[in-house]
Symmetry: C2
């Protein structure tokens, strides 16, 4: 068993997992309702674009899962409720010819944190009282073909808009990357970036069963 690591970088509010039940496939999600705390086991897929200076730009589809712990909502009234989240486990796998197989997991040196709340600037296209979901993520992109593990030292900000249920299973989201997000070689963290994420789009999937989670 791996030694538990205490993250040195904490992007937001920690959320306890103690006594919080896992939620799997078959669970019912009620729209416009602030639910009890849970650990959501959800599918996820994404399309990430990586730029490697002087080499090229590569767009890679990923598929996998996340485990997200949700806090007690700050109110049971939907319009007032804020929910805090921590991404406690993630595995996404993608592949392209030039970069080979890429496995994305959480960086244990970071606590990846997020929240769901009413935005200050709702968009016209959103439903009434729709919420905004955001998460700051520290990840490791393992690229064995290149012999490198790449890490982001600035968090990747993942956002989902027009959230009408918690969790926002099935919703599309976006990595809020302005032009480039630097990636560093994990062996040389204090040196200059070796690659960049230039675009990231994702879709939250639905609840998975323990068997589906183990198989992915």
């Amino acid at each position: 068993m791996a030694t538990p690591t205490k993250p040195s970088v904490i992007y937001g509010r920690p959320v306890t997992t103690e006594g919080v039940p896992n939620v799997y496939a078959g669970a019912k999600v009620v729209p416009w309702t602030a639910p009890d705390p849970g650990i959501d086991n959800l599918g996820i897929n994404s399309i990430d674009t990586f730029a490697v200076p002087g080499v090229g730009e590569y767009t890679v589809p990923f598929d996998g899962w996340v485990r997200v712990v949700r806090s007690e909502p700050t109110s049971r009234e939907w319009s007032k409720a804020e929910v805090y989240t921590n991404l406690i486990e993630m595995k996404m796998v993608g592949e392209c010819e030039e970069l080979g197989r890429i496995t994305v997991t959480l960086n244990p040196d970071c606590l990846s944190t997020g929240q769901i709340r009413t935005p200050f600037d709702p968009y016209a296209g959103e439903g009434p009282s729709a919420k905004a979901c955001r998460m700051a993520v520290g990840a490791i992109f393992d690229m064995p073909k290149l012999g490198m593990k790449l890490v982001n030292k600035e968090p990747i900000i993942l956002t989902i808009d027009d959230v009408r249920q918690i969790p926002p299973a099935g919703a599309p989201g976006k990595g809020q990357i302005y032009r480039m997000l630097p990636l560093h070689d994990s062996r040389y963290l204090d040196q200059q970036p070796v690659a960049y994420v230039t675009s990231l789009r994702f879709n939250m999937g639905g609840y998975l069963s323990p068997e589906e989670l183990a198989a992915k």
Copy 2:
């Protein structure tokens, strides 16, 4: 004298200040040229909007200065050059009736880092070979009227586009904030945010003299 603090969070590449000369008012900036390393002493102003949940949204103009150390460029050829930067000192002061006087300084627990490089996605409106400048900043917003120091735990990403000279003195820039950037009370960092930055626009000023720097 304050005890030197080693930051626990490092957003990018550290840049040494050792042997690097200060650059003040009167220095000549040559466009399309990758300059020698320097510590740029520059004016800056910004307009920040703060949202305090349940209380209101406040837009505050700030004025002040920054000290930025620039690395040796990775090439003397402009089109290939990358320059790494660290924000080593900052003071910006703003005021509004509801929040009182606000002083923004660097969070010594973070190393605020940045870079200037050729973007992967230049905009049509930009000049040929214009570069992109970005910096990840950890700040403290001291609000004595509220009895609080607010800190961001996700970096504030400041960007300047269409960079035709280094430093990009006189250029407008933007904080890349998607809807909200959480601010935490420095006494209760592990609790939920107490306020948010919802918008940030800034202008880099020109070089200041040592006297102007001391007076601001």
